[in-house]
Protein backbone atom coordinates (compact mmCIF):
# COMPACT_ATOMS: atom_id res chain seq x y z
CA UNK A 1 0.00 0.00 0.00
CA UNK A 2 1.40 3.43 -0.92
CA UNK A 3 2.22 5.84 1.89
CA UNK A 4 -0.38 8.35 0.71
CA UNK A 5 -3.07 5.66 0.82
CA UNK A 6 -2.03 4.68 4.36
CA UNK A 7 -2.29 8.34 5.45
CA UNK A 8 -5.73 8.69 3.84
CA UNK A 9 -6.96 5.53 5.61
CA UNK A 10 -5.57 6.68 8.95
CA UNK A 11 -7.24 10.08 8.51
CA UNK A 12 -10.57 8.42 7.66
CA UNK A 13 -10.28 6.10 10.69
CA UNK A 14 -9.67 9.13 12.92
CA UNK A 15 -12.71 10.88 11.45
CA UNK A 16 -14.87 7.78 11.89
CA UNK A 17 -13.94 7.62 15.58
CA UNK A 18 -14.54 11.34 16.12
CA UNK A 19 -17.78 11.57 14.08
CA UNK A 20 -20.22 10.39 16.78
CA UNK A 21 -18.73 12.90 19.25
CA UNK A 22 -18.89 15.66 16.66
CA UNK A 23 -22.50 14.83 15.80
CA UNK A 24 -23.44 14.89 19.46
CA UNK A 25 -21.69 18.22 19.87
CA UNK A 26 -23.52 19.64 16.82
CA UNK A 27 -26.89 18.55 18.25
CA UNK A 28 -25.99 20.17 21.55
CA UNK A 29 -24.98 23.39 19.82
CA UNK A 30 -28.23 23.42 17.80
CA UNK A 31 -30.24 23.11 21.04
CA UNK A 32 -28.23 25.93 22.62
CA UNK A 33 -28.78 28.17 19.58
CA UNK A 34 -32.51 27.37 19.61
CA UNK A 35 -32.72 28.26 23.30
CA UNK A 36 -30.93 31.57 22.74
CA UNK A 37 -33.11 32.44 19.76
CA UNK A 38 -36.24 31.79 21.81
CA UNK A 39 -35.16 34.45 24.31
CA UNK A 40 -35.76 37.16 21.70
CA UNK A 41 -39.54 36.87 21.90
CA UNK A 42 -39.54 36.63 25.71
CA UNK A 43 -37.36 39.75 26.02
CA UNK A 44 -39.57 41.59 23.55
CA UNK A 45 -42.71 40.62 25.49
CA UNK A 46 -41.29 41.93 28.77
CA UNK A 47 -40.04 45.13 27.13
CA UNK A 48 -43.49 45.69 25.62
CA UNK A 49 -45.35 45.09 28.90
CA UNK A 50 -43.00 47.36 30.85
CA UNK A 51 -43.19 50.10 28.28
CA UNK A 52 -46.94 50.01 27.73
CA UNK A 53 -48.27 49.22 31.18
CA UNK A 54 -45.84 49.43 34.04
CA UNK A 55 -44.31 52.84 33.45
CA UNK A 56 -47.75 54.56 33.37
CA UNK A 57 -48.52 52.58 36.54
CA UNK A 58 -45.83 54.59 38.30
CA UNK A 59 -48.21 57.55 38.06
CA UNK A 60 -50.59 55.59 40.33
CA UNK A 61 -53.69 56.61 38.38
CA UNK A 62 -55.81 53.47 38.92
CA UNK A 63 -58.51 54.48 36.46
CA UNK A 64 -55.98 55.06 33.74
CA UNK A 65 -54.23 51.80 34.60
CA UNK A 66 -57.50 49.83 34.33
CA UNK A 67 -58.22 51.45 30.97
CA UNK A 68 -54.70 50.72 29.73
CA UNK A 69 -54.88 47.06 30.70
CA UNK A 70 -58.18 46.66 28.85
CA UNK A 71 -56.81 48.52 25.82
CA UNK A 72 -53.54 46.53 25.83
CA UNK A 73 -55.34 43.22 25.38
CA UNK A 74 -57.08 44.46 22.23
CA UNK A 75 -53.72 44.80 20.55
CA UNK A 76 -52.52 41.24 21.23
Amino acid sequence: MAASERVARARQALLNRAAPDLLARVHELESEVAELRQQSLRIAELADIVQELLIPMAARDQERIDALVAEYRKGL
Partner: protein, 500 residues
Protein backbone atom coordinates in the same frame (compact mmCIF):
# COMPACT_ATOMS: atom_id res chain seq x y z
CA UNK B 1 -57.80 11.45 -11.29
CA UNK B 2 -55.58 9.52 -13.71
CA UNK B 3 -52.75 11.50 -15.25
CA UNK B 4 -50.95 10.38 -18.40
CA UNK B 5 -47.23 10.46 -19.27
CA UNK B 6 -45.41 13.67 -20.11
CA UNK B 7 -43.24 16.31 -18.43
CA UNK B 8 -44.08 17.93 -15.09
CA UNK B 9 -46.66 20.62 -15.90
CA UNK B 10 -49.08 22.77 -13.89
CA UNK B 11 -52.62 21.63 -14.64
CA UNK B 12 -55.77 23.59 -13.85
CA UNK B 13 -58.88 21.63 -12.92
CA UNK B 14 -62.11 23.50 -13.76
CA UNK B 15 -65.69 22.75 -12.82
CA UNK B 16 -68.25 24.28 -15.23
CA UNK B 17 -65.52 26.48 -16.68
CA UNK B 18 -64.18 27.83 -13.37
CA UNK B 19 -60.78 26.87 -11.96
CA UNK B 20 -61.09 25.21 -8.53
CA UNK B 21 -57.72 23.47 -8.16
CA UNK B 22 -54.26 23.29 -9.74
CA UNK B 23 -51.51 20.73 -9.36
CA UNK B 24 -48.22 19.63 -10.89
CA UNK B 25 -48.59 16.52 -13.05
CA UNK B 26 -45.52 14.78 -11.60
CA UNK B 27 -44.74 16.51 -8.28
CA UNK B 28 -48.25 16.08 -6.90
CA UNK B 29 -49.17 12.57 -8.12
CA UNK B 30 -48.39 9.01 -7.10
CA UNK B 31 -47.22 6.35 -9.50
CA UNK B 32 -49.87 3.67 -10.09
CA UNK B 33 -47.71 1.36 -12.24
CA UNK B 34 -47.58 0.80 -16.01
CA UNK B 35 -46.66 4.44 -16.65
CA UNK B 36 -49.89 5.70 -14.99
CA UNK B 37 -50.15 8.33 -12.30
CA UNK B 38 -52.91 9.23 -9.90
CA UNK B 39 -53.68 12.68 -8.49
CA UNK B 40 -55.74 12.44 -5.32
CA UNK B 41 -58.54 14.93 -4.85
CA UNK B 42 -57.45 17.38 -2.15
CA UNK B 43 -59.15 16.76 1.18
CA UNK B 44 -61.07 20.05 1.16
CA UNK B 45 -62.44 19.32 -2.31
CA UNK B 46 -63.05 15.59 -1.92
CA UNK B 47 -65.84 16.09 0.62
CA UNK B 48 -67.62 18.47 -1.76
CA UNK B 49 -67.79 16.15 -4.80
CA UNK B 50 -71.54 15.72 -4.89
CA UNK B 51 -73.60 16.22 -8.02
CA UNK B 52 -72.52 16.68 -11.62
CA UNK B 53 -70.26 19.17 -13.37
CA UNK B 54 -68.37 19.70 -16.62
CA UNK B 55 -64.78 18.84 -15.67
CA UNK B 56 -62.00 20.28 -17.79
CA UNK B 57 -58.27 19.81 -17.14
CA UNK B 58 -55.79 21.99 -19.00
CA UNK B 59 -52.24 23.26 -18.62
CA UNK B 60 -52.29 26.62 -16.82
CA UNK B 61 -52.50 29.40 -19.36
CA UNK B 62 -53.46 27.08 -22.25
CA UNK B 63 -56.66 27.57 -24.22
CA UNK B 64 -57.55 23.98 -25.09
CA UNK B 65 -58.30 21.30 -22.46
CA UNK B 66 -56.42 18.03 -22.21
CA UNK B 67 -59.56 16.52 -20.71
CA UNK B 68 -63.20 17.57 -20.90
CA UNK B 69 -66.22 15.55 -19.81
CA UNK B 70 -69.48 15.86 -17.91
CA UNK B 71 -68.90 13.90 -14.68
CA UNK B 72 -71.57 12.87 -12.20
CA UNK B 73 -69.97 12.17 -8.79
CA UNK B 74 -73.25 10.75 -7.51
CA UNK B 75 -76.77 10.13 -8.82
CA UNK B 76 -78.43 13.08 -7.05
CA UNK B 77 -79.09 14.87 -10.34
CA UNK B 78 -77.93 18.14 -8.65
CA UNK B 79 -75.38 20.48 -10.14
CA UNK B 80 -72.04 20.49 -8.28
CA UNK B 81 -71.22 23.97 -6.99
CA UNK B 82 -68.06 24.74 -5.05
CA UNK B 83 -69.46 27.68 -3.07
CA UNK B 84 -69.70 28.68 0.58
CA UNK B 85 -72.89 29.03 2.64
CA UNK B 86 -73.44 32.52 1.19
CA UNK B 87 -73.12 31.25 -2.37
CA UNK B 88 -69.67 32.80 -2.94
CA UNK B 89 -67.62 30.72 -5.42
CA UNK B 90 -64.53 29.11 -3.91
CA UNK B 91 -61.20 27.80 -5.17
CA UNK B 92 -58.33 26.01 -3.45
CA UNK B 93 -55.58 28.32 -2.25
CA UNK B 94 -51.92 27.40 -1.77
CA UNK B 95 -52.57 26.04 1.71
CA UNK B 96 -55.26 23.66 0.47
CA UNK B 97 -58.21 25.62 1.83
CA UNK B 98 -61.33 26.48 -0.17
CA UNK B 99 -61.59 30.27 -0.21
CA UNK B 100 -62.97 32.98 -2.52
CA UNK B 101 -59.80 33.39 -4.60
CA UNK B 102 -59.33 36.71 -6.38
CA UNK B 103 -60.37 35.26 -9.74
CA UNK B 104 -63.87 34.69 -8.28
CA UNK B 105 -64.30 38.32 -7.17
CA UNK B 106 -65.68 41.40 -8.90
CA UNK B 107 -63.75 44.70 -8.84
CA UNK B 108 -66.36 46.01 -6.38
CA UNK B 109 -65.70 43.08 -4.04
CA UNK B 110 -61.91 43.58 -4.18
CA UNK B 111 -62.08 47.33 -3.58
CA UNK B 112 -62.11 47.06 0.24
CA UNK B 113 -58.88 45.05 0.23
CA UNK B 114 -57.14 47.41 -2.16
CA UNK B 115 -58.27 50.44 -0.14
CA UNK B 116 -56.99 48.80 3.05
CA UNK B 117 -53.68 47.97 1.38
CA UNK B 118 -53.21 51.69 0.66
CA UNK B 119 -54.34 52.77 4.15
CA UNK B 120 -52.11 50.24 5.94
CA UNK B 121 -49.08 51.05 3.80
CA UNK B 122 -49.62 54.77 4.45
CA UNK B 123 -49.96 54.18 8.19
CA UNK B 124 -46.79 52.09 8.30
CA UNK B 125 -44.93 54.76 6.35
CA UNK B 126 -46.21 57.39 8.81
CA UNK B 127 -44.76 55.23 11.60
CA UNK B 128 -41.35 55.40 9.92
CA UNK B 129 -41.57 51.91 8.41
CA UNK B 130 -40.47 51.36 4.80
CA UNK B 131 -43.28 48.96 3.92
CA UNK B 132 -44.13 47.54 0.52
CA UNK B 133 -46.37 44.87 -1.02
CA UNK B 134 -44.77 41.44 -0.58
CA UNK B 135 -45.12 37.82 -1.69
CA UNK B 136 -48.15 37.26 -3.96
CA UNK B 137 -49.18 40.90 -3.89
CA UNK B 138 -45.77 42.08 -5.08
CA UNK B 139 -45.64 39.27 -7.61
CA UNK B 140 -49.01 40.31 -9.07
CA UNK B 141 -48.02 43.99 -9.15
CA UNK B 142 -44.69 43.39 -10.87
CA UNK B 143 -45.78 40.65 -13.25
CA UNK B 144 -49.28 41.70 -14.27
CA UNK B 145 -50.08 44.90 -12.35
CA UNK B 146 -53.06 43.08 -10.81
CA UNK B 147 -53.97 40.71 -8.02
CA UNK B 148 -53.06 37.15 -8.95
CA UNK B 149 -56.26 35.26 -9.74
CA UNK B 150 -55.43 32.12 -7.79
CA UNK B 151 -54.24 34.08 -4.74
CA UNK B 152 -56.53 34.67 -1.78
CA UNK B 153 -54.89 37.20 0.49
CA UNK B 154 -52.71 40.30 0.33
CA UNK B 155 -49.26 40.68 1.85
CA UNK B 156 -47.15 43.58 3.05
CA UNK B 157 -43.50 43.33 4.05
CA UNK B 158 -40.96 45.66 5.59
CA UNK B 159 -37.32 45.57 6.58
CA UNK B 160 -36.92 47.12 10.01
CA UNK B 161 -34.11 49.52 10.77
CA UNK B 162 -33.45 47.34 13.84
CA UNK B 163 -31.05 44.45 13.58
CA UNK B 164 -31.91 42.44 16.68
CA UNK B 165 -34.97 40.17 16.58
CA UNK B 166 -36.15 41.39 20.01
CA UNK B 167 -36.30 45.00 18.78
CA UNK B 168 -38.04 43.91 15.56
CA UNK B 169 -40.67 42.11 17.66
CA UNK B 170 -41.30 45.10 19.97
CA UNK B 171 -41.69 47.26 16.87
CA UNK B 172 -44.17 44.78 15.35
CA UNK B 173 -46.23 44.81 18.57
CA UNK B 174 -46.45 48.62 18.36
CA UNK B 175 -47.41 48.58 14.66
CA UNK B 176 -50.24 46.15 15.35
CA UNK B 177 -51.56 48.43 18.12
CA UNK B 178 -51.37 51.36 15.74
CA UNK B 179 -53.59 49.57 13.21
CA UNK B 180 -55.98 48.44 15.95
CA UNK B 181 -56.22 52.13 16.83
CA UNK B 182 -57.45 52.77 13.27
CA UNK B 183 -60.30 50.35 13.89
CA UNK B 184 -58.94 47.22 12.21
CA UNK B 185 -59.40 43.77 13.73
CA UNK B 186 -56.08 41.94 13.75
CA UNK B 187 -54.60 38.59 14.70
CA UNK B 188 -50.95 37.87 15.44
CA UNK B 189 -49.17 35.03 13.64
CA UNK B 190 -45.77 35.34 15.27
CA UNK B 191 -43.49 37.83 16.98
CA UNK B 192 -42.86 39.58 13.66
CA UNK B 193 -46.03 39.07 11.64
CA UNK B 194 -49.73 39.71 12.06
CA UNK B 195 -52.87 39.81 9.98
CA UNK B 196 -55.19 42.73 9.39
CA UNK B 197 -58.76 41.54 8.78
CA UNK B 198 -60.51 43.32 5.95
CA UNK B 199 -64.28 42.86 5.66
CA UNK B 200 -65.41 42.75 2.03
CA UNK B 201 -68.88 44.01 0.96
CA UNK B 202 -70.40 40.50 1.01
CA UNK B 203 -69.13 39.87 4.53
CA UNK B 204 -66.13 37.71 3.62
CA UNK B 205 -63.16 38.50 5.88
CA UNK B 206 -59.98 38.78 3.79
CA UNK B 207 -56.51 38.62 5.26
CA UNK B 208 -53.93 41.37 4.76
CA UNK B 209 -50.71 39.98 6.26
CA UNK B 210 -47.96 42.26 7.57
CA UNK B 211 -44.58 40.49 7.57
CA UNK B 212 -41.68 42.07 9.43
CA UNK B 213 -38.05 41.54 8.58
CA UNK B 214 -34.54 42.68 9.38
CA UNK B 215 -31.10 42.74 7.82
CA UNK B 216 -28.20 41.61 9.96
CA UNK B 217 -24.74 40.58 8.82
CA UNK B 218 -25.78 40.93 5.19
CA UNK B 219 -28.62 38.41 5.62
CA UNK B 220 -32.24 39.41 5.07
CA UNK B 221 -34.70 37.70 7.42
CA UNK B 222 -38.27 38.31 6.18
CA UNK B 223 -41.15 36.45 7.74
CA UNK B 224 -42.29 33.85 6.95
CA UNK B 225 -40.02 32.26 4.26
CA UNK B 226 -36.99 34.38 3.37
CA UNK B 227 -33.54 34.17 4.91
CA UNK B 228 -30.90 34.96 2.29
CA UNK B 229 -27.87 37.10 1.66
CA UNK B 230 -29.24 40.45 0.51
CA UNK B 231 -28.18 44.02 -0.06
CA UNK B 232 -30.00 46.86 1.74
CA UNK B 233 -29.91 48.90 -1.49
CA UNK B 234 -32.10 46.21 -3.13
CA UNK B 235 -34.85 47.38 -0.73
CA UNK B 236 -34.07 51.07 -0.16
CA UNK B 237 -34.81 53.63 -1.27
CA UNK B 238 -38.31 52.37 -2.03
CA UNK B 239 -39.54 52.59 -5.61
CA UNK B 240 -43.07 52.35 -6.98
CA UNK B 241 -45.30 49.68 -8.50
CA UNK B 242 -48.84 49.59 -9.82
CA UNK B 243 -51.54 47.22 -8.62
CA UNK B 244 -55.08 47.32 -10.03
CA UNK B 245 -54.56 50.95 -11.07
CA UNK B 246 -53.20 52.06 -7.67
CA UNK B 247 -49.65 53.27 -7.25
CA UNK B 248 -47.91 51.65 -4.29
CA UNK B 249 -44.43 51.57 -2.79
CA UNK B 250 -42.11 48.75 -3.86
CA UNK B 251 -38.61 47.50 -3.02
CA UNK B 252 -35.90 49.31 -5.01
CA UNK B 253 -35.11 46.05 -6.86
CA UNK B 254 -38.35 44.04 -6.66
CA UNK B 255 -36.98 41.31 -8.91
CA UNK B 256 -34.28 40.55 -6.29
CA UNK B 257 -36.89 40.08 -3.57
CA UNK B 258 -39.17 38.07 -5.84
CA UNK B 259 -36.31 35.75 -6.68
CA UNK B 260 -35.56 35.35 -2.96
CA UNK B 261 -39.23 34.52 -2.34
CA UNK B 262 -40.04 32.33 -5.36
CA UNK B 263 -36.79 31.34 -7.01
CA UNK B 264 -35.56 32.24 -10.50
CA UNK B 265 -38.82 31.06 -12.09
CA UNK B 266 -40.89 33.82 -10.47
CA UNK B 267 -41.92 35.29 -13.81
CA UNK B 268 -43.88 32.15 -14.76
CA UNK B 269 -47.36 31.94 -13.18
CA UNK B 270 -47.80 28.86 -10.99
CA UNK B 271 -51.18 28.44 -9.26
CA UNK B 272 -49.84 25.31 -7.53
CA UNK B 273 -46.68 26.97 -6.18
CA UNK B 274 -45.40 25.46 -2.95
CA UNK B 275 -42.81 27.13 -0.73
CA UNK B 276 -39.84 24.87 -0.06
CA UNK B 277 -38.36 26.84 2.81
CA UNK B 278 -34.96 25.49 3.93
CA UNK B 279 -35.05 23.63 7.24
CA UNK B 280 -32.50 26.03 8.73
CA UNK B 281 -34.81 28.99 7.96
CA UNK B 282 -37.83 27.23 9.45
CA UNK B 283 -35.81 26.48 12.61
CA UNK B 284 -34.55 30.05 12.89
CA UNK B 285 -37.99 31.63 12.45
CA UNK B 286 -39.71 29.11 14.74
CA UNK B 287 -37.22 29.84 17.51
CA UNK B 288 -37.01 33.61 17.04
CA UNK B 289 -40.66 34.36 16.43
CA UNK B 290 -43.09 31.44 16.77
CA UNK B 291 -42.57 30.04 20.28
CA UNK B 292 -45.94 31.40 21.40
CA UNK B 293 -47.93 29.26 18.96
CA UNK B 294 -46.90 25.66 19.70
CA UNK B 295 -49.58 23.02 19.04
CA UNK B 296 -52.08 25.63 17.83
CA UNK B 297 -52.85 23.84 14.57
CA UNK B 298 -53.09 20.51 16.43
CA UNK B 299 -55.63 21.97 18.86
CA UNK B 300 -57.72 23.57 16.14
CA UNK B 301 -57.81 20.24 14.29
CA UNK B 302 -58.63 18.33 17.51
CA UNK B 303 -61.66 20.54 18.19
CA UNK B 304 -62.78 20.34 14.55
CA UNK B 305 -62.72 16.55 14.49
CA UNK B 306 -63.96 15.89 18.04
CA UNK B 307 -67.07 18.05 18.25
CA UNK B 308 -69.05 17.58 21.45
CA UNK B 309 -72.84 18.00 21.83
CA UNK B 310 -72.29 20.85 24.23
CA UNK B 311 -75.95 21.49 25.05
CA UNK B 312 -76.48 18.06 26.57
CA UNK B 313 -72.95 17.00 27.51
CA UNK B 314 -72.29 15.81 31.05
CA UNK B 315 -69.79 17.64 33.24
CA UNK B 316 -66.34 16.13 33.68
CA UNK B 317 -65.46 14.09 36.80
CA UNK B 318 -63.24 17.00 37.86
CA UNK B 319 -66.13 19.49 37.66
CA UNK B 320 -68.31 17.17 39.72
CA UNK B 321 -65.46 16.77 42.25
CA UNK B 322 -65.28 20.55 42.70
CA UNK B 323 -68.95 20.75 43.61
CA UNK B 324 -68.81 17.65 45.82
CA UNK B 325 -65.85 19.16 47.70
CA UNK B 326 -66.84 22.80 48.09
CA UNK B 327 -70.31 23.33 46.64
CA UNK B 328 -71.09 25.49 43.62
CA UNK B 329 -68.43 28.21 43.46
CA UNK B 330 -69.55 31.81 43.17
CA UNK B 331 -66.84 32.55 40.60
CA UNK B 332 -65.47 29.78 38.39
CA UNK B 333 -62.53 30.18 36.04
CA UNK B 334 -62.21 27.42 33.46
CA UNK B 335 -58.62 27.37 32.20
CA UNK B 336 -58.19 25.68 28.81
CA UNK B 337 -61.98 25.49 28.50
CA UNK B 338 -61.93 24.05 24.96
CA UNK B 339 -65.55 23.57 23.88
CA UNK B 340 -66.57 24.91 27.32
CA UNK B 341 -68.71 21.97 28.41
CA UNK B 342 -67.74 22.38 32.09
CA UNK B 343 -68.05 26.17 31.81
CA UNK B 344 -71.65 25.85 30.62
CA UNK B 345 -72.44 23.31 33.32
CA UNK B 346 -71.08 25.56 36.09
CA UNK B 347 -72.95 28.53 34.65
CA UNK B 348 -76.16 26.47 34.75
CA UNK B 349 -75.43 25.66 38.44
CA UNK B 350 -75.29 29.41 39.15
CA UNK B 351 -71.58 30.26 38.99
CA UNK B 352 -70.29 33.40 37.27
CA UNK B 353 -67.95 31.76 34.78
CA UNK B 354 -64.98 32.96 32.77
CA UNK B 355 -63.88 30.40 30.15
CA UNK B 356 -60.33 30.86 28.92
CA UNK B 357 -58.68 29.17 25.97
CA UNK B 358 -55.96 29.53 23.35
CA UNK B 359 -58.65 29.47 20.67
CA UNK B 360 -62.05 31.18 20.99
CA UNK B 361 -63.98 29.42 18.23
CA UNK B 362 -64.45 26.04 20.00
CA UNK B 363 -66.41 27.71 22.83
CA UNK B 364 -68.74 29.41 20.37
CA UNK B 365 -71.68 27.05 20.82
CA UNK B 366 -71.44 27.15 24.63
CA UNK B 367 -71.37 30.96 24.49
CA UNK B 368 -74.50 31.11 22.34
CA UNK B 369 -76.36 28.64 24.56
CA UNK B 370 -75.39 30.59 27.69
CA UNK B 371 -76.61 33.81 26.12
CA UNK B 372 -79.97 32.25 25.18
CA UNK B 373 -80.37 30.82 28.70
CA UNK B 374 -79.39 34.11 30.37
CA UNK B 375 -76.32 32.63 32.08
CA UNK B 376 -73.15 34.33 33.25
CA UNK B 377 -70.47 32.95 30.91
CA UNK B 378 -67.68 35.16 29.61
CA UNK B 379 -65.31 33.59 27.04
CA UNK B 380 -61.84 35.13 26.69
CA UNK B 381 -58.56 34.36 24.98
CA UNK B 382 -55.64 33.29 27.13
CA UNK B 383 -52.39 31.97 25.67
CA UNK B 384 -50.19 30.37 28.32
CA UNK B 385 -47.24 30.45 25.93
CA UNK B 386 -47.39 34.23 25.68
CA UNK B 387 -46.33 36.31 28.66
CA UNK B 388 -48.18 39.37 27.38
CA UNK B 389 -51.43 37.43 27.40
CA UNK B 390 -50.86 35.90 30.85
CA UNK B 391 -49.59 39.04 32.57
CA UNK B 392 -52.16 41.46 31.14
CA UNK B 393 -55.13 39.17 31.81
CA UNK B 394 -53.72 38.26 35.22
CA UNK B 395 -53.50 41.98 36.04
CA UNK B 396 -57.08 42.49 34.90
CA UNK B 397 -58.64 39.62 36.80
CA UNK B 398 -56.65 40.35 39.96
CA UNK B 399 -58.75 43.53 40.18
CA UNK B 400 -62.06 41.61 40.09
CA UNK B 401 -63.21 41.23 43.68
CA UNK B 402 -63.87 37.96 45.45
CA UNK B 403 -62.30 34.54 45.86
CA UNK B 404 -62.63 32.16 42.96
CA UNK B 405 -62.25 28.53 41.95
CA UNK B 406 -60.05 27.59 39.03
CA UNK B 407 -60.54 24.49 36.91
CA UNK B 408 -57.63 23.15 34.85
CA UNK B 409 -58.80 19.92 33.27
CA UNK B 410 -56.19 18.38 30.98
CA UNK B 411 -54.38 21.68 30.70
CA UNK B 412 -50.98 20.93 32.25
CA UNK B 413 -50.69 17.99 29.84
CA UNK B 414 -51.73 20.10 26.86
CA UNK B 415 -49.11 22.81 26.87
CA UNK B 416 -45.28 22.91 26.60
CA UNK B 417 -43.14 23.42 29.73
CA UNK B 418 -43.15 27.21 29.45
CA UNK B 419 -46.93 27.04 29.43
CA UNK B 420 -47.17 24.94 32.60
CA UNK B 421 -45.21 27.58 34.51
CA UNK B 422 -47.49 30.26 33.06
CA UNK B 423 -50.58 28.40 34.26
CA UNK B 424 -49.23 28.57 37.81
CA UNK B 425 -48.25 32.21 37.38
CA UNK B 426 -51.71 33.12 36.12
CA UNK B 427 -53.39 31.15 38.91
CA UNK B 428 -51.36 33.03 41.51
CA UNK B 429 -52.40 36.37 39.97
CA UNK B 430 -56.07 35.37 39.64
CA UNK B 431 -56.28 34.30 43.29
CA UNK B 432 -54.94 37.43 44.99
CA UNK B 433 -58.23 37.48 46.92
CA UNK B 434 -57.81 33.77 47.59
CA UNK B 435 -58.87 30.77 45.61
CA UNK B 436 -58.48 27.10 44.85
CA UNK B 437 -57.19 25.35 41.74
CA UNK B 438 -58.39 21.91 40.73
CA UNK B 439 -56.33 20.20 38.04
CA UNK B 440 -56.54 16.83 36.28
CA UNK B 441 -53.86 15.76 33.81
CA UNK B 442 -52.47 12.61 32.19
CA UNK B 443 -49.40 11.41 34.03
CA UNK B 444 -48.83 8.12 32.20
CA UNK B 445 -50.09 5.92 29.40
CA UNK B 446 -50.54 8.56 26.67
CA UNK B 447 -49.28 7.20 23.31
CA UNK B 448 -46.49 9.33 21.83
CA UNK B 449 -48.40 9.85 18.62
CA UNK B 450 -51.50 11.02 20.46
CA UNK B 451 -50.86 14.69 19.95
CA UNK B 452 -51.51 17.28 21.29
CA UNK B 453 -51.27 15.60 24.74
CA UNK B 454 -48.11 14.81 26.70
CA UNK B 455 -48.01 13.18 30.15
CA UNK B 456 -46.68 15.28 33.05
CA UNK B 457 -45.32 14.16 36.37
CA UNK B 458 -47.51 14.75 39.46
CA UNK B 459 -44.48 15.92 41.48
CA UNK B 460 -43.54 18.38 38.69
CA UNK B 461 -46.99 19.95 38.77
CA UNK B 462 -47.07 20.29 42.58
CA UNK B 463 -43.55 21.75 42.45
CA UNK B 464 -44.53 24.36 39.85
CA UNK B 465 -47.60 25.37 41.88
CA UNK B 466 -45.71 25.59 45.17
CA UNK B 467 -43.07 27.79 43.57
CA UNK B 468 -45.90 30.20 42.68
CA UNK B 469 -47.14 30.38 46.25
CA UNK B 470 -49.75 27.59 46.31
CA UNK B 471 -50.41 25.31 49.28
CA UNK B 472 -51.07 21.78 48.06
CA UNK B 473 -54.25 20.46 49.74
CA UNK B 474 -54.60 17.16 47.91
CA UNK B 475 -52.83 15.00 45.37
CA UNK B 476 -54.05 11.80 43.81
CA UNK B 477 -53.16 9.47 40.98
CA UNK B 478 -55.64 6.97 39.60
CA UNK B 479 -56.57 4.90 36.59
CA UNK B 480 -58.62 7.05 34.25
CA UNK B 481 -62.26 5.84 34.29
CA UNK B 482 -62.61 6.29 30.51
CA UNK B 483 -59.10 5.58 29.14
CA UNK B 484 -58.20 2.68 31.37
CA UNK B 485 -54.68 2.36 29.98
CA UNK B 486 -53.86 5.85 31.27
CA UNK B 487 -53.16 7.30 34.67
CA UNK B 488 -54.66 10.61 35.74
CA UNK B 489 -52.98 12.90 38.23
CA UNK B 490 -55.08 15.26 40.31
CA UNK B 491 -54.02 18.27 42.38
CA UNK B 492 -56.04 20.61 44.56
CA UNK B 493 -54.07 23.75 45.45
CA UNK B 494 -54.97 26.77 47.58
CA UNK B 495 -53.79 30.36 47.43
CA UNK B 496 -54.60 32.34 50.54
CA UNK B 497 -55.61 35.99 50.13
CA UNK B 498 -52.57 38.17 49.53
CA UNK B 499 -51.99 40.74 52.26
CA UNK B 500 -53.01 44.27 51.28
Amino acid sequence: MRVGPGPDTVLDVCFDGRRVWSFWSRRDVVEAGSGRYLAAWPKALASRLKGATAVTVLPHGASGPQFAAEIAFDDSGERLAIVNASGQPLGLDKSGKLVPTFDTRTPEQSRALLDSLVVVLDELHAAGIDAFPAYGTLLGAVREQKLIGHDSDADIGYVSRHEHPADVIVESFALQRRLVGLGYATARYSGASFQVKVVEPDGFVRGLDVFGGFLAGGVLHLMGEVRVRFEREWILPLGRCTLEGRELSAPARPEKLLEAMYGPGWKVPDPAYRFETPESTVRAFNNYFRVTRARRAAWAEDHRTNRIRVRSASPSPLAEYVVAREGVPQQLIDLGAGQAVDSLWFARQGSAVVAYDYLTAPAGRARRIAEREGLSLDSRVLNFQEWRSVLSEGARIARVAGPRTLLARHLFDATPRFGTDSIARFASMATRAGGTLYADFWCAGVPEEDQPWRPVDLADVTGILERRGAHILETDEFTDPVHQDRRTGRVVALWRPASA
